[in-house]
Symmetry: C2
Subunit: 155 residues, 2 copies
């Protein structure tokens, strides 16, 4: 099996670095955020706030810790994002009925409206990323990405 | 062709969000950085500094602007990373012979040694990400990631 490990003593070349999965993945995510941020300019929300809104729509009510995992942020950054979303009336924090120390976060009506505004933009950009892939290629791509995530989770 | 666009009026489900390429890509890159950062703890370099060192090794001498593109950072963040690398004696800045307004950045001997320390870790992690992929699957994965990057670049 071909390995990404360079042969000893062999000077690496630019082309080798640029075909490493990590190189491509980093550049894709960076460019994706650039494009999405520009498409969502009129909605005035950050990429993290966008992920929070999509995640809350899928999961209904989540703790801050769960949101950190699903929407990717450290707790202090997530808390600031939630403060800002709450201030704009897009999310609410409520005490959990089963554990009064827990706060559960959910979308307000205004948050649901914001979701409906940004979701088509996100889905459209996901479509555009793989515009020239056939159905089978899309399925392979998703399956491979999922496998990589599982592999990383085992480390 | 299957589209990521939800049918009108159909409530989306968590599972749909979690198979979106953008969701998987974001989580992969986040997890990759977490794992790599922990593996490189003894080298005491940031993820951006790691990318700068790998990029300079591949391209020899680059301007700050070129480094911003290849190693992914905005100019102020890149300048701070370079200040720190220069202070540690890992990179040098020299005046371009063809244009005295341009500074070219390259690795010092100490920077090359740091490169040789971190490169196997980066390549090993890239291998581990696709450990269960055959040669053909790896090639497909790289080709699909490159295609996605091209598609995003057109937007």
């Amino acid at each position: 099996m071909r390995s990404y490990k360079a042969e000893p003593g062999k000077k690496s070349h630019a082309v080798e670095l640029e075909t490493l999965p990590s190189f491509l993945l980093n550049h894709i995510v960076h460019k994706y955020h650039q494009v999405l941020q520009s498409k969502l300019r009129s909605s005035d929300i950050s990429m993290l706030q966008m992920r929070v809104i999509l995640t809350l729509h899928s999961h209904d009510r989540l703790t801050v810790g769960e949101l950190c995992n699903f929407a990717i942020a450290e707790q202090p950054t997530m808390s600031r994002a939630l403060d800002s979303l709450e201030l704009r009336g897009l999310v609410r924090r409520e005490m959990s009925e089963s554990d009064s120390r827990l706060r559960l976060i959910s979308l307000t009506e205004k948050g649901l409206a914001m979701h409906d505004e940004i979701r088509p933009v996100v889905l459209g950009l996901n479509d555009a990323m793989v515009a020239d892939f056939g159905e089978e290629q899309r399925a392979t791509f998703t399956r491979q990405l999922s496998a990589v995530l599982v592999n990383l989770g085992r480390m």
